[in-house]
Symmetry: C2
Subunit: 506 residues, 2 copies
């Protein structure tokens, strides 16, 4: 539905701005039902001043000062990003943990999905053959072998959903003893335990690399290693990989889905290509779904340090205890330091697309981003690519880069990801289904074969945060059970893994 | 041929060690023709002490102290890496430029190859359709389009050698204004000018990314951009890419090879999986070929900062002038600082495979590595992924990581790479042929369908540095002309691009 009247969205009572909901924006002179009148043109998703905002005064959205007026901003006019001065970052050293009172929510009982039980107790939502690598040197050979496996073997094993080559740029030519090398090593090690790979582990190594295959194997008794330097050339290498794959395909093919409690779900949340509507429609709806997941006893992770950094004072009181709160602040500090060493700060986030979409800066982006986390208690904080030890809501600290965050969350064991987008991105992962939720109806209309859920209907009054949240939750269960496929699955849109390596290469 | 007598190789008069040439190594008690006797077992490629080396005394190979004896090392015994203390790094601030006298060499005249002339004056050795990306978001869609182009279009254009998707992990979610962001941006920009892509430029962008497509296009009048956010979904996106590819394929298909002077060649040199033989056989032979290329007026690049760092005092006098010398030292300092920030130093190079192959540390590895550069004058020093403005021998500073170095050299415009290996690696590039030269006959025998040139014959007396150098040079001309294919080309072993990003991600 297209809006047939002017609509502006104010998030909280204290806000002195609202965003324009209408597609194509609104013209100067537009009068709203409440009499408010635009004095300039305002693009869709961009902010209009609800009152006169004098130079130096706070611009408030989500009840938060997202910036300071660089000039006098008259009531009714467009607040272009150039008018918004970035406030200083919250000093994490000054923050003191004080737990918020989060009302107990009624558990959702009896919810189930049809999943694949793994030997380690985890549950898969797909039944994939994963082929791991200890180093990029083996990637070209592995590609040839995977092509052969797909063409010659896979048709014989109809219950296997596919073959995934876990290629990455790590493994050699890297400072493997650097303090931060633990991040990429942990990522690759935990990817090898991914729940959608059935507990099997086939790894192709070279033989002389720095990342020792046994680190990746980590004691998995089913592990099979193909060392290319031990094989007599290319033909022999490809043949060895294909041969090793067959018995694993046979085992995988015998698996069947069984009824599992919703508490076995591990869902990752992410956003990419955000706009000012992300925090109004898609992210609140995903936040509602996050609360439902938590109530169902599942594990649900949100991430992206630079998009949480400016909302950390809102997240800290939601941490389960002081220890979790301390971990949250440590992750923020780590990233502050990482950016400082590179000569930048948190303002390095926000893209041209974010700005075109009405997000003036990282504070406004963060306010919209953290809404994905719903309203629950944060039970654990993870460093990039760590595995959770708790259920419920988890903060998994990762970069905000879509592919790095996605890879870290996969390593943290998500079976599926819910990805919100404002501008639109054709994002997909080979190892896990991705449900794409867009913030505006225009994107859903424009990309009917990419977007799974249109949260833009919320802004148009055709749906509510609650109804879209429930829709997302139901879709998670259906996709987890293999009853439905996301568009990314149907098309096989697979972005490459991107392992986070904050340590030097050599 | 297998050696039928014990053979040890001493590189220079001043050396107090020699490496054992025989496959499988030699046993304690082995007596050489000159009466020298082993007192311990020594593995192939590992060092034996030619004299008693008292604790604290220098261990000399290539006429260079590669380390200090940690214990008394008796004459005839194996110098295991644990006995070799790492000397301090050369202090680049103390080095003073003084030009070495390099005798003028007779130019090689009249040498030609059959190449593809490009509009910008460069010459390709392949006729490839390249499809560029401004951001990883588009990679999954591009993969689908490339599959369609390969299957449906390529058979109609038999003179086109293939389709290459230039995917990378950069473009968004990165600190694009960080000081060092210039490195990845330059890399992607220069990859888009690669001589094997015929001067055409098809780029798939998303629409909201930080790396603006116009930066990659850089004024190329033939550029065609497909913006996915402007296309109506997945089917439309794939169709648009395929449609845009066809007229380019038509143009490429009409091209023919023409006779070009050898001076139009731009050849990259690299090593990976090195052993102690690399500096005895393969790298000296490649160095001989480098001298021939230089004499033919071609451009030849060597790279890998951490594998040059400990030989910088040998390279400095070979710089054409003080300005070039200063640039060499600046690149070393940049890398020293980069490693220091990550909490490591140059010793982070050397792999378990290097050590197994007899290379005790980075000094010994560097001595063997720089031999690839031959004996000529270094005419220019490039930062990672810069384009040369001079011909002859160029030092293109890059990380030593095979894939990062390869990607940087491609951005610097190499048409082909000569890659030496000791332990053996199945390395390949989609955009350029790679000639693989191995250091030991055992590797050539073991990998007959991967290794193109066996330099191991030098250690066995079946060939000389000169003869193998000439063989490599002749092979370069033949592969450049499309008369011969390397094994990596025949198999289509294509490793992924890996863009060097020393700046933070966000």
């Amino acid at each position: 539905m297209t809006l047939n009247k002017p609509l502006k969205i104010k998030m909280q009572e204290a806000d002195n701005v609202a965003v324009i909901a209408n597609e194509g924006g609104l013209k100067a002179g537009t009068v709203f039902e409440d009499g408010f009148t635009l004095t300039t043109d305002v693009p869709q998703a961009h902010k209009a001043a609800l009152v006169d905002i004098p130079k130096g005064r706070g611009i408030v959205r989500y009840g938060q000062i997202i910036g300071y007026a660089k000039k006098d901003i008259p009531k009714g006019s467009w607040i272009d990003e150039s008018l918004v001065g970035l406030p200083p970052a919250v000093d994490v050293h000054q923050l003191v943990y004080k737990q918020a009172e989060i009302p107990a929510r009624e558990p959702l009982k009896g919810l189930t999905f049809q999943g694949y039980k793994n030997p380690d107790g985890s549950v898969g939502v797909l039944n994939l053959l994963g082929i791991h690598t200890s180093v990029q040197c083996t990637a070209g050979v592995l590609d040839l072998a995977v092509k052969k496996i797909r063409e010659e073997l896979l048709p014989k094993y109809p219950h296997v959903d596919g073959v995934v080559a876990l290629k990455h740029a790590y493994g050699c030519g890297v400072a493997i003893n650097a303090p931060e090398a633990k991040v990429p090593i942990r990522t690759i090690k935990n990817l090898a335990k991914h729940p959608n790979l059935g507990g099997e582990l086939l790894i192709v190594s070279l033989g002389c690399e720095k990342l020792r295959p046994e680190v990746v194997i980590d004691g998995n008794p089913r592990a099979v290693e193909i060392v290319l330097q031990d094989k007599a050339g290319m033909a022999a290498s490809v043949a060895a990989i294909v041969k090793a794959a067959e018995p694993i395909l046979e085992r995988l093919n015998k698996r069947t889905r069984v009824t599992c409690p919703a508490a076995d779900l591990v869902i990752g949340l992410q956003c990419g290509g955000s706009d000012a509507f992300s925090g109004v429609t898609s992210n609140p709806a995903v936040g509602y779904a996050a609360d439902l997941l938590e109530r169902a006893g599942a594990t649900v992770m949100f991430s992206e340090v630079t998009e949480v950094r400016d909302g950390v004072d809102r997240l800290l009181p939601r941490c389960a205890n002081a220890k979790v709160g301390k971990r949250l602040l440590e992750e923020m500090q780590w990233y502050d330091n990482y950016l400082t060493m590179g000569g930048v700060d948190r303002a390095a986030n926000t893209t041209p697309g974010n700005k075109k979409g009405g997000l003036s800066n990282i504070v406004e982006k963060a306010m919209g981003s953290i809404i994905k986390s719903g309203t629950g208690t944060i039970n654990e904080v993870l460093s990039p690519a760590e595995r959770p030890t708790k259920k419920g809501l988890i903060y998994a600290a990762t970069p905000a880069s879509d592919f790095v965050c996605g890879t870290c969350q996969l390593a943290s064991g998500i079976q599926m990801q819910v990805f919100t987008t404002g501008r639109g991105t054709p994002y997909g992962l080979a190892m896990a289904p991705v449900i794409k939720v867009c913030s505006r109806s225009a994107v859903a209309k424009h990309w009917p074969d990419i977007i799974d859920v249109n949260a833009g209907r919320i802004a148009e009054g055709d749906a509510t945060i609650e109804s879209v949240g429930k829709e997302i939750f139901a879709l998670i269960l259906a996709v987890a059970s293999g009853e439905k496929q996301t568009w990314a699955q149907k098309w096989k849109i697979y972005n490459d893994l991107c392992v986070f390596n904050p340590a030097p290469i050599t």
